[in-house]
């Protein structure tokens, strides 16, 4: 068999494997859209669940997920960006920095359910926040940090060194250089990272299982010390714990969650490509 033939067969095989990886994505998303679309109505989106969740809407779960995502942003964004600035601009290459990086890699690898246990142990029980939005958002924040840090650090690092040199040569201090030159230049990349991090937080179930999620709570949370329903947990509940659940509502809930999460994904991707094209350097 000639080398060219081997190559042609080989490339064909690679194409096939990639198709096998990519096609199910379309199948998954398409199937949920087709099955879930009939369930979507204004009533479904805006009303409380009724009749043991088998009727009515998913409004409290949507609101709960919004609360949790916003709460996660409040804690994770400032801390994550500060850590990224530290790693990109201040950290020198020494053992301590390597330890910090190793910690971040580990935070990224810790299973989501272990975050749930940690949140239960620290926030719910030890700090006595109880099962609450505060405890859930704090737990999700720590889980989200690695995503925000790594994307933001990358965004800071691609700002050309010349920008720093010029700013300092004009008499700017290090902090002025960072806050007025580097951060604004890196902002689009940092925003992308923040959105990707929050996307992950919005879709997670295991970390909120024991820290905030309510099985059935047909009212909206009044403060951060309330429990709340949340979309991912709600989907888990209605697809495994409630017998006789209409399949339409299950797919409808899955579709709402998927749209919520994937629109964040699209926003991040769009932001990234828009600013990459507009960037002057």
């Amino acid at each position: 068999m000639s080398r060219e033939l081997v190559q042609r067969i080989g490339f064909g095989f690679l194409t096939l494997v990639t198709a096998l990886v990519v096609l199910p994505i379309m199948l998954v998303v398409g199937y949920i859209v087709v099955q879930g679309a009939p369930a979507i109505s204004w009533e479904f989106l805006s009303q409380m669940p009724r009749g043991g969740m088998r009727e009515g809407g998913i409004w409290p779960a949507i609101v709960g997920t919004l609360w949790l995502t916003a709460g996660t942003a409040v804690f994770a964004v400032p801390l994550g960006v500060a850590m990224a600035v530290y790693l990109a601009e201040y950290a020198s290459d020494n053992t301590f920095t390597r330890l910090v990086r190793l910690s971040i890699i580990n935070l990224a690898g810790i299973p989501s359910v272990v975050y749930g246990l940690f949140g239960l142990g620290l926030f719910v029980l030890f700090l006595r926040f109880g099962s609450s939005i505060l405890a859930g958002a704090l737990t999700l924040s720590i889980m989200t940090l690695p995503v925000i840090i790594s994307t933001s650090e990358e965004a800071l690092r691609v700002v050309p060194q010349a920008f720093r040199t010029v700013s300092v040569s004009l008499g700017g201090t290090k902090w002025q250089t960072i806050s007025r030159i580097i951060l604004p230049q890196a902002l689009p990349g940092i925003l992308t990272g923040i959105i990707l991090g929050l996307e992950r937080a919005a879709g997670e179930t295991a970390p909120i299982l024991f820290t905030v999620a309510a099985f059935f709570l047909p009212r909206l949370p009044q403060s951060v010390f309330d429990q709340t329903m949340a979309l991912p947990y709600h989907l888990f509940v209605i697809s495994t714990q409630v017998p006789g659940m209409p399949i339409k509502i299950q797919y409808g809930t899955a579709l709402v969650l998927l749209v919520f999460v994937l629109s964040m994904n699209l926003l991040a991707a769009g932001l990234r490509s828009y600013y990459r094209r507009r960037r002057q350097w």
């Binding site: 690679l14 379309m26 935070l107 690898g109 989501s112 359910v113 246990l117 142990g121 940090l145 998927l258």
Partner: protein, 301 residues
């Protein structure tokens, strides 16, 4: 110093101090997580006799806290996922990095990012409704909720990690390596497997480790498709039977146990086991990362 200048100066000192402190917080969080797992989990080791913890039966309501079925369940499902995802991920990464034309790459890469974005509960939901009936029919099994179904879903969830890290590693192999191989008369295919992939092997190894780490820790999807029967999966047909992983056990049972009970402490102990396993996997993966940067530095200097 004028008043205004002093204000700027103080603000600056505070801001820089906070930023430096944030560096410590990453280490602090890892320690904090371990401390609170230990606080609730370590009591399990004196409340339950070691021979019970190492027993073969997980039946908490009757005081049987044998961890083996859970540990082996996790290992079985993860191994299955690794066998499926590692070759698939590598081949896809090679296709994206080396073979696909630019326009195709711009389509395939975002689609794989979409998989990474799909919540695990949604994949579990679909796995339950679409995949498990299929598995039951194809293998003529009594149930479709099996270890194998779990492996399939997990493999799919590990793919985005494996593909993107491996593709990065392939991308960072210097252009000149490929040019040299091609100039010596190698075909593109030969160049890929004899030059590019070997040159990127440490990054590819990292990709595999991170993918496996992701698979071990996955919770919701696994819980929804594996059937959750706590039995020791050692025989060959175990793949086609329900299993129960460590993550699924914690997620399923923590909501129902009394706080401070032995069962509660044992579930935290399971969390410690998971924490330690993923810690080891990630440290190994990052060692591979460091090895690669060092080698590239040496080559450049």
């Amino acid at each position: 110093m004028s008043q205004a200048k002093r204000k700027i100066y103080i603000g600056q000192v505070i801001a820089e101090g906070l930023i430096r402190a944030s560096g410590f917080s990453a280490i602090a969080f890892v320690l904090l997580i371990f401390a609170f797992l230990a606080r609730e989990g370590v009591p399990a080791f004196w409340e339950v006799r070691p021979d019970v913890l190492l027993g073969a039966r997980w039946y908490p309501t009757e005081g049987h806290f044998g961890l083996w079925p859970l540990i082996l369940g996790s290992i079985l499902v993860t191994l299955g996922a690794a066998v499926l995802a590692m070759p698939t991920g590598l081949l896809t990464a090679v296709f994206i990095a080396e073979v696909a034309p630019r326009w195709l790459r711009e389509i395939v890469k975002p689609m794989i990012e979409v998989v990474a974005g799909i919540p695990s509960v949604v994949l579990g939901f679909l796995g339950m409704l679409m995949l498990s009936p299929l598995v039951r029919q194809v293998f003529n099994a009594p149930t479709g909720l099996t270890a194998f179904t779990g492996s399939l879903v997990l493999a799919y969830m590990a793919l985005p990690t494996i593909i993107s890290v491996a593709e990065d590693a392939l991308d960072s192999v210097p252009r000149s390596y490929r040019d040299a191989a091609l100039a010596l008369g190698a075909t593109k295919w030969q160049t890929i497997w004899r030059v590019t992939v070997p040159a990127a092997r440490s990054g590819i190894l990292t990709a595999m480790m991170l993918g496996i780490g992701r698979a071990i820790g996955e919770t919701m999807a696994v819980m929804m498709v594996t059937g959750n029967a706590a039995r020791i999966p050692l025989t060959l047909d175990s793949l086609m039977r329900p299993v129960r992983t460590m993550t699924a056990t914690v997620a399923a049972e923590m909501g129902e146990v009394a706080q401070g009970s032995t069962h509660f402490h044992v579930l935290f102990a399971v969390g410690i086991v998971l924490f330690v396993i993923t810690l080891l996997v990630n440290v190994l993966a990052s060692l591979a990362i460091f090895r690669q940067t060092r080698r590239s530095e040496r080559l450049l200097s």
